[in-house]
């Protein structure tokens, strides 16, 4: 199986702390991987590193056979590596319709058009509204983001990533902050993704992880301590140790 996304020996130091310590990971088209680990394990940092938001100290990132380690975040997105953010990043004064239209236009290479309007492009508008409807926020299409609830902003965050039609999708806790009643929409949207897309999802909710993932990777203190099937992960001694250890730490702090 040829990898579409391949990370080799990635390392990142913050001060003296190795937040990402020799991480290697490979995904093939169609993979559904859950990345889990205690708070502060370095999951978000891993996403920041591979998407080019921060630079690694060493290691390589390969996308579809091309070494993208030296490329900026924009170039990686254009090659199909798309992420969502754990803490929503949206344009507070713009509407969901504008957000998603802009992402669609960007995907089509038309976001630089100056003498056009997305509202006059029925194809773009229909796709944008269909995507918003799928995530259950179509009725908010024309409201400013600053006026809509955080849970709904989380759904828009996911819609933006989907609108880019990625080849490799990295979701950083897409369900965090979403009301229980809406998590089903997120799950459904992820389940409906194209079969050949490689998806890596960071998630703390283990029910969600087990329904979604065919493979689970556990990160603790910047290192991968487990990479295998969902069945095996609960039985793994090091994984239990990492989680129990973190609980034990938490208790000693409290």
């Amino acid at each position: 199986m040829s990898a579409i996304f391949d990370v080799r020996n990635l390392r990142k130091m913050f001060g003296g702390l190795a937040v990402t310590n020799d991480v290697s990971l490979s995904m093939a088209p169609g993979d559904r991987v859950a990345l889990i680990g205690p708070n502060g394990a370095g999951k978000t940092t891993f996403v920041n590193l591979v998407t080019g938001n921060i630079l690694p100290n060493s290691g390589t990132v390969t996308l579809g056979g091309e070494d993208v380690t030296r490329l900026g975040p924009t170039q990686r997105v254009r090659r199909g590596l798309v992420r969502s953010f754990q803490v929503t990043r949206l344009f507070s004064e713009m509407t969901p319709e504008e957000h998603v239209s802009l992402a669609i236009l960007q995907r089509e290479g038309r976001s630089g058009k100056m003498f056009a309007s997305h509202r006059a492009m029925p194809g773009v508008m229909d796709e944008a509204h269909a995507l918003l409807a799928k995530l259950g926020i179509a009725q908010l299409a024309g409201h400013r983001v600053s006026e809509i609830a955080y849970g709904q902003q989380r759904l828009l965050e996911l819609a933006l990533a989907l609108a880019l039609k990625p080849k490799v999708l990295l979701l950083d806790e897409p369900a965090a902050g979403v009301p229980q009643s809406d998590t089903a929409r997120i799950e459904q949207a992820i389940a409906d993704l194209p079969a050949d897309l490689a998806v890596l999802m960071i998630e703390h909710d283990m029910d969600l992880v087990f329904r979604f993932a065919k493979r689970v990777i556990v990160l603790a203190a910047g290192e991968i301590i487990f990479d295998g099937s969902p069945d095996a992960v609960t039985k793994d001694a090091r994984v239990r140790q990492a989680y129990l250890g973190s609980y034990a730490d938490a208790r000693s702090v409290a």
Binding site: T74, L90, L102, S111, S117, H118, R119, P122
Partner: protein, 333 residues
């Protein structure tokens, strides 16, 4: 059915926007007409206001829409003024449309250069770079007195009749109409640009550049483009000033003018283009009236007005009124 309602609301929406812009154009034209008949002996001032309005519109593009802080924007205006002036005085390009074209291109080039420099930094360092640019440009124009006339100003600018039909007259009527037409054309083009996908991208960059990059769009490339467009608009304003006054002075390339342009923009409100126009008219009219009434304390009074606006209408005159109506509209819904 869903598709149908989408496209229906799309055209309705579009019509609403076009109506608003048509109203905007009519209001500018009405203002221009009223000015023409109320102040027939003061058309030179009104034309100057028009030229400065182009500068403030141009500043709104980079500051209001893209969030770039600059105190050196007069460099783009001055480049247009000197470009058009030098073309006329040294190269015999005296057709006003050709002079305007030279001004627009000079402004766009100055915009590109300023953009490349200013966008290397963010926040306060960015502001300092922009100040450095205007001082360098001012000093360069001062030193190159063979071309620019230095501190005496560049004279000998004699524009031909517009389209060979309308001579620039002593009362400044032709210049005034020329300026108003230019302003309306620029305004219509800019309204279109700011609501285009490119305009959305710029607004996005101001609100969260990290998100823009995560969409795969180039932040730097987009900003540079906007800087060039902004330069073209400011350059048109500079060219208008050169054509209408027939001299270009170092003041068109000054830090003072840059700072005043920013004050006018904040006064009117950023990020709407309407605010830029209202801020320019208010500031320059106020300056004129108050300095005539009280030549000793007019700066104090202008300062007091500014403090009042910033404290009580922080979104600017237009921005605060627009926000008020938006709130009322939402309550009514």
């Amino acid at each position: 059915m869903a598709l149908l309602t989408t496209s229906l609301s799309t055209t309705g929406d579009r019509r609403a926007r076009l109506t608003r812009d048509a109203i905007g154009v009519l209001v500018i034209a009405a203002f221009a007409l009223v000015g023409y008949f109320l102040f027939p002996n003061n058309l030179a001032l009104l034309t100057r206001i028009t030229a400065i309005a182009l500068l403030v519109l141009s500043l709104d593009l980079v500051t209001g829409y893209c969030g770039v802080a600059t105190l050196g924007h007069a460099a783009l205006f001055g480049a247009g003024a000197y470009g058009a002036g030098i073309a006329a005085a040294h190269f015999g390009i005296t057709d006003p449309i050709a002079m305007l074209a030279v001004g627009i291109v000079s402004g766009a080039i100055a915009g590109l250069i300023s953009g490349v420099v200013v966008l290397r930094a963010h926040g306060l360092p960015q502001l300092v770079l922009s100040i450095a640019i205007i001082h360098l440009a001012h000093e360069a124009a001062n030193k190159a007195s063979g071309w620019t006339g230095g501190s005496d100003g560049l004279a000998g600018i004699m524009p031909d009749a517009v389209f060979g039909l309308w001579q620039f007259d002593l009362w400044g009527r032709t210049a005034y109409v020329f300026g108003i037409v230019l302003l309306i054309v620029a305004f219509v083009i800019l309204r279109q640009i700011v609501r285009s996908p490119f305009g959305m991208l710029c607004r996005g960059i101001r609100q969260d550049p990290v998100r823009v990059r995560a969409m795969g769009a180039s932040v730097h490339g987009t900003l540079i483009k906007m800087y060039a467009i902004s330069g073209a608009v400011a350059g048109a304003g500079g060219a208008l000033n050169a054509i209408s006054t027939q001299v270009v002075g170092l003041d068109s390339l000054s830090f003072t003018l840059s700072a005043e342009a920013l004050v006018m923009l904040v006064l009117g409100g950023t990020g709407s283009l309407y605010g830029a126009l209202i801020g320019t008219i208010t500031f320059m009219w106020f300056e004129d009236v108050v300095s005539a009434a009280n030549p000793f304390h007019w700066l104090t009074i202008v300062g007091a007005l500014l403090i009042a606006v910033v404290l009580f209408a922080p979104k600017g005159l237009y921005g605060s009124v627009a926000a008020y109506f938006e709130r009322r509209g939402r309550k009514g819904r």
